[in-house]
């Protein structure tokens, strides 16, 4: 990235902006604003570290996903070991290393978050753009449906739709049954597109009466071209913010489902942050604090980091928004 130019601009100070020949492009200004958001910068670094650890899972983990530790204490099963050299974050009920399992589970959670966000954004942008541009019946219907859906208690709606989807054969053939990760992603996309669609719709409605859209229309641009070339690039900010909030929503949603026993199947060698937090439930009353603190901490850190990145993106892409600091 062009840090040199932005550094120069920072040194020259804001007063010099526009006076010197080295003005910043909007993208550079956005990067600069992003870098000023401390929380976002720290979160980006933390996320990057976590992603690297997860990608390098074969090297960073110490034991297999369902591998029990036998060496630490001779002669009896090594379950519920407090943190020690053999298991940095202790072991769980059947002696598996919590540290290694956290990395595997973060992998699954990140995949769920990422794919949910991508698909929700694709669907949401398409629906939101059409609804915003065309208006009329389709727009009304979409707003009513999303109103009701978003007002529903999340877990209730999620469980009902989940049980309903799992009975539809043409769905389960494609994405697997209720305990598969693809099914969970589909489930979250069904909920996730609405938030994105509403944001994009709002942005499109705000932009579509502006002069540059009129100019494009006068030049004979098709609706499709207006949307893809003019409207979407100008609403990239809200879309990016919606994307990050969908990532958090999916990661926490998966954790919620797993916590209540409706997540991916624990027995099939998969694990996720939610399953680890659900395991923590069993450790509370016995006082196995390491089962609780580490997975819960990781979940909170991930959620916080992505939220902060979203907040930074909001600041960066919305020049009108002036923050107190």
């Amino acid at each position: 990235m062009t840090t040199e130019t932005s550094n120069v601009a920072v040194e020259n100070g804001i007063a010099a902006e526009g006076l010197t020949s080295k003005t910043l492009s909007p993208a550079q200004m956005a990067v600069k604003r992003y870098l000023q958001h401390k929380g976002a910068v720290i979160s980006t670094v933390l996320m990057a570290i976590m992603v690297i650890i997860v990608v390098l899972a074969p090297f960073t983990t110490r034991y297999g996903i369902n591998e029990s530790i036998f060496e630490a204490v001779k002669g009896r099963p090594n379950s519920y070991l407090p943190p020690r050299a053999e298991a940095w974050f202790g072991t769980d009920s059947i002696g598996r290393d919590v540290y290694s399992r956290m990395i595997y589970s973060l992998r699954v959670s990140l995949i769920i978050g990422l794919f949910t966000a991508i698909f929700s954004t694709l669907v949401g942008v398409a629906v939101g753009a059409v609804a915003g541009l065309r208006g009329g019946r389709f727009d009304d219907l979409m707003m009513r449906v999303t109103d009701i859906f978003l007002a529903f208690p999340f877990l209730v709606a999620l469980l009902i739709v989940r049980s309903f989807l799992g009975e539809l054969e043409f769905v389960t053939v494609v994405v697997g049954d209720r305990s598969s990760i693809r099914f969970i992603i589909l489930l979250f996309v069904i909920f996730g597109w609405m938030g994105v669609a509403r944001l994009v719709r709002g942005s499109v409605i705000a932009l579509k009466e502006r002069e540059f859209i009129e100019a494009a229309r006068a030049l004979g641009a098709s609706d499709f071209r207006i949307v893809t070339r003019h409207l979407l690039p100008n609403s990239i900010g809200p879309i990016l913010v919606a994307l990050t909030s969908t990532v958090v929503g999916a990661i926490i949603g998966e954790a919620t489902l797993s916590f209540f026993g409706f997540g991916p199947d624990a027995g099939s060698g998969k694990t996720s942050l939610g399953l680890l937090v659900a395991d923590a439930k069993g450790g509370v009353s016995a006082g196995y604090w390491w089962l609780v603190i580490f997975p819960c901490g990781l979940l909170c850190i991930v959620a916080l980091c992505v939220n902060f990145i979203g907040d930074g993106l909001r600041d960066a892409t919305d020049p009108r928004l002036e923050r107190g600091n």
Binding site: I148, A151, F154, L155, F164, L165, S285, V292, C296, N325
Partner: protein
């Protein structure tokens, strides 16, 4: 205004009917009531199963959904006039649905109202506190704190609080500071306000954290918006005291958008309640729903869903109407 309200009220009826119908279809497809009945009552003979299907209007086929919904709806309304006596009974132990739901609702309402009042009050105060000095240390700490609290899912904070106040506390000081489950300790008879409140501290706290975080952020943004508007300058130039400017003009106007948000947010609060109740084994609506859902208990699930749909639609209505009523600029014709 009256026409607006009436039109919205008229719209609410078909909305409720359509949504309950969709929920009906989803539950029947998803939980498969007759199969669930056989699972819960493995020794039930053909006759019993047929009887169960008849009582619940579980007609087969696509037309069965319409016929079944109609039958269910009539039955439901009939039950409203005799205290739910004519509603079908639960699949496990043929218990009456309404008394149990009433008990669960009372518990949930108590928890929800306590948490909402506490959460909204503290959240609004924190929001005002932060917005009065934008950019200061206290502003950024309230903002960041709300952000962190908002990012922590309720069950995580619930589990952490249980660990700290019950398990670790009893390990360090001998006795747990606060109870972690139920409304009363097991075996408790009769009403005991103090004991009940002690059991509510942790659940209320968990639900309230989320509400505080949401409202502190909303209030801060809303108040900053008002503070930067023209009529604030006018109010100041009139020469009235700063205190009156803030309380009489700024805070009052910044509460308008919050009323709407509070009404829409009911789903979020119910959602937080459901999760929290489960973790604390609190016998409320959330526990009622999750148990019924696990068992595939159709007779219990439908009345619960009706209550939820009613709450969501009514509060949406309140949001719409309050919006138009409080802010005369937006009176949609």
């Amino acid at each position: 205004m009256l026409r607006f309200v009436l039109r919205r009220l008229l719209w609410a009826v078909p909305t409720i009917l359509i949504v309950t119908f969709l929920v009906y279809v989803a539950i029947r497809l998803g939980t498969n009531p007759s199969e669930a009945y056989q699972r819960s009552n493995p020794r039930a003979n053909e006759e019993k199963i047929r009887q169960y299907e008849e009582i619940n209007n579980l007609f087969p086929g696509v037309s069965g959904y319409f016929k079944g919904y109609w039958g269910w709806l009539r039955n439901f309304f009939a039950g409203l006039f005799n205290g739910g006596e004519s509603w079908p009974r639960s699949i496990k132990g043929r218990r009456e649905v309404w008394p149990e739901m009433k008990y669960a609702m009372a518990n949930s309402l108590r928890l929800g109202i306590a948490a909402s009042v506490l959460g909204i009050f503290i959240g609004v105060l924190l929001g005002i506190f932060a917005a009065l000095r934008p950019g200061s240390l206290r502003d950024s700490s309230v903002n960041t704190g709300a952000f962190v609290a908002f990012s922590i899912p309720p069950y995580v904070s619930a589990v952490l609080l249980q660990l700290l106040f019950a398990v670790m506390w009893s390990r360090w000081y001998g006795d747990p500071l606060l109870p972690t489950s139920g409304v009363y300790p097991p075996g408790q008879q009769g009403f005991d306000l103090l004991l009940m409140m002690k059991h509510m501290v942790l659940p209320v706290f968990v639900v309230a954290i989320q509400i505080i975080a949401v409202y502190a952020r909303y209030m801060r943004a809303s108040l900053l918006d008002v503070l930067n508007s023209d009529f604030m300058r006018t109010a100041r130039s009139k020469g009235i005291s700063e205190r009156r400017v803030l309380v009489g003009h700024a805070v009052r106007n910044s509460l308008i958008p919050l009323v709407t948000i509070a009404a829409i947010d009911i789903g979020g609060i119910i959602g937080g309640l459901i999760i929290t109740e489960r973790v604390f084994s609190y016998p409320g609506m959330g526990d009622f729903f999750l148990t019924a859902f696990d068992n595939g208990d159709f007779p219990q699930l439908m009345p619960f869903m009706v209550i939820i749909v009613l709450a969501v639609v009514i509060f949406n209505l309140i949001a719409d109407i309050s919006y138009a009523w409080l802010d005369p600029r937006i009176r949609v014709g």
